[in-house]
């Protein structure tokens, strides 16, 4: 039963294009999906370890840039004599390199800031994304700076040159997004349900008790940061090969904020939270766009964030789960003892 629900959800997601055939709507679905994957990865840190990574878009952007650059090929000029030329790589290899690079940054950031955690972690991650943006903007010889990286090749899958599938159109990209999302979901689900995930939650819940039974704080926080950054990098890489043009604005703080809103609204620390919140916030903008300018839209976002924290502090998914459990509980109490507490 419990194993079947995600499969049913996956089947429903795969069936969506049967209903939605409009290309623009499909595009919205794909970009929303990419954001949901990124939000799922952030949720691993924010929801399960309690560490707010406000520079999460940094991992996403690094994934996008690394993947784009690897697939396009690039040159690094250290001196006039010492030039490192990297020939264009296949997209799947670029994807792998992007994930690894983002994960490496997750490792470094984690190592650096988990010694002190809390407010420091927030500020370090925030700064990290901002530095990444400035590098993308100023390292023009590598990134083209504000001129953007163009003509990024689309995803290709194939055994040989003769037998290749290239993801130019929306529909195959939708399925690819679902595949990456399902993979990310599976990894995160496995992690949080394992002893490693329990260790992460334990640190958030009660750090001194956790250490007193032998849980190494730094180790599991760094592990969470690595996995989280790697998944965000995967989302970024896919984004780059889907839209096929990226510029330094990919690192804007506002994107991290969007992820945070999705997680907080949906329910942090739940597997479904970022998905529910993400679907909600994926569809609000196209609707709002009809009636409000971008500023008003963002004001509404900001207010929603505040309102959610005040009135639905746990988010939608836990609230619904509880209401559901309470209903079933009431039905059952007639004969059985009621559970203690609320």
């Amino acid at each position: 039963m419990r194993a079947l629900a995600p499969l049913a959800g996956l089947a429903a997601l795969l069936a969506v294009p049967l209903v939605v055939t409009d290309q623009y709507a499909l595009h919205i679905l794909i970009t929303t999906g990419i954001f949901i994957i990124a939000a799922m990865s952030l949720n691993l840190l924010l929801g399960y370890t309690g560490q707010l990574s406000l520079g999460h878009i940094g991992f996403f952007g690094i994934g996008a840039y690394v993947s784009a650059l690897c697939s396009l090929g690039f040159q690094l000029e250290f001196t006039d004599r010492l030039v490192l030329t990297v020939a264009p790589k296949p997209v799947w290899l670029s994807f792998v390199i992007a994930v690894a690079t983002a994960a490496l940054f997750g490792f470094l950031i984690g190592k650096l800031s988990f010694k002190v955690r809390g407010a420091y972690f927030v500020i370090v991650t925030l700064s990290f994304a901002e530095v990444a943006r400035l590098v993308a903007l100023n390292w023009v010889s590598l990134t083209q700076g504000p001129m953007a990286l163009n003509n990024i090749p689309p995803f290709t899958l194939g055994l040989s040159d003769a037998w290749q599938l290239t993801f130019y159109r929306k529909l195959p990209n939708y399925f690819l997004m679902i595949a990456i999302g399902a993979g990310a979901y599976l990894l995160i689900a496995r992690l949080v349900r394992s002893r490693l995930g329990r260790a992460m939650v334990a640190l958030k819940e009660n750090e001194s008790l956790a250490t007193s039974v032998g849980i190494d704080v730094t180790r599991y926080l760094v592990l969470a940061a690595v996995v989280s950054a790697g998944i965000a990098g995967a989302a970024g890489s896919f984004y780059a090969h889907y839209v096929r043009i990226i510029d330094p604005d990919i690192f804007l703080f506002i994107y991290t904020v969007t992820m945070v809103i999705m997680i907080v609204t949906g329910g942090k620390g739940t597997l479904l939270g970022p998905i529910v919140g993400g679907i909600l916030f994926g569809f609000i903008p196209p609707v709002l766009r009809e009636v409000a300018g971008p500023e008003l839209q963002w004001i509404i976002y900001g207010l929603i964030m505040i309102v959610v924290v005040f009135f639905l502090p746990e988010g939608i998914v836990p609230a619904v789960t509880r209401a559901w459990a309470a209903r079933r509980g009431r039905a059952a109490t007639a004969s059985a003892r009621s559970p203690a507490g609320s």
């Binding site: 599976l186 990894l187 496995r190 992690l191 394992s194 002893r195 490693l196 329990r198 260790a199 939650v201 334990a202 819940e205 009660n206 001194s208 008790l209 956790a210 250490t211 007193s212 039974v213 032998g214 849980i215 190494d216 704080v217 592990l223 996995v227 559970p339 203690a340 507490g341 609320s342």
Partner: protein, 264 residues
């Protein structure tokens, strides 16, 4: 049976700690032999919990050395000390509040798990097998402390006495060779205390050495092999319970006050 010199498990030698200008512990030396139950008693502020914090690595002593099985514990982090089998409970009830009772104990079992990140992410079958094994072990521990029927309740929804027991269950899950219990029966009523003493006897029967901080004298005198009395950061007496009960300085420093603090 209680010959500490024969198999000395824990040894504190000249431990002292200062907080700012305040001397919390002046000079503390004692040892706990394998299989013993030793109680650390003394009036509030005598430095008992501080001693626990030092032994388990939660704070570093200003001077002195601690060894466990002949190896120094100084400078190790709390999780490393737990990793050697020295596990504590907390004076103030300390649980993973929003997790279920079973999850609390599963978390306590962390040290016994072996699956690493790669196995977990790949979803290897060994991970599931280990999970089932640990769940069984957790259920066993809950039965052991008498919380068998409470598995799926949230920790913070348990009544107070059961929360105290869950705290002990979490510590037991971490497979201690030396268990440090910080006022385990504080706040419990007489019946609960009596049944806790039975649990303590079972813990002892499992071969787990216990260092106990407790205010409840009935329990201390009944369960301890030896008692160490602290006052104002120094040991003022130590010996078997019958000696301690007759020791004039102890009566003056502690037992006289203890009556007034009986409720505590």
């Amino acid at each position: 049976m209680s010959d500490p010199a024969a198999t000395e498990l824990l040894k504190l030698d000249g431990i002292g700690i200062r907080f700012g200008g305040l001397v919390a512990i002046a000079d503390l030396s004692f040892s706990v032999g394998s299989g013993e139950v030793v109680s650390l008693i003394g009036p509030n502020g005598a430095g008992k919990t501080t001693a626990f914090n030092i032994i388990t690595g939660f704070c570093a002593p200003s001077h002195g050395s601690i060894s466990f099985r002949g190896q120094p514990l100084n400078g190790l982090k709390p999780h490393e000390i737990a990793g050697r089998g020295v596990v504590r409970t907390f004076q103030k009830t300390s649980l993973f509040d929003t997790l279920t009772v079973l999850e609390n104990v599963l978390t306590g079992l962390h040290r016994l798990g072996r699956s690493g990140a790669l196995q977990v992410l790949l979803g290897l079958p060994s991970v599931g097998a280990e999970q089932r094994r640990l769940c069984e072990r957790a259920a066993e521990i809950l039965d052991f402390v008498g919380l068998g029927g409470r598995q799926d309740q949230l920790a913070n929804a348990l009544p107070y006495g059961e929360q105290r027991l869950l705290g002990v269950a979490i510590a037991l899950a971490a497979d201690p060779a030396l268990l440090l219990l910080d006022e385990p029966v504080s706040g419990m009523n007489a019946t609960e205390t009596t049944s806790f003493m039975a649990i303590l006897a079972k813990i002892r029967a499992r071969g787990i050495t216990t260092l106990l901080v407790e205010h409840d004298m009935r329990m201390v005198m009944e369960v301890s092999d030896r008692v160490v009395v602290l006052n104002q950061g120094r040991i003022i007496a130590s010996g078997v319970p019958s000696e301690i009960q007759r020791h004039p300085e102890v009566i003056q420093a502690y037992l006289g006050q203890g009556r007034r603090r009986a409720r505590h």
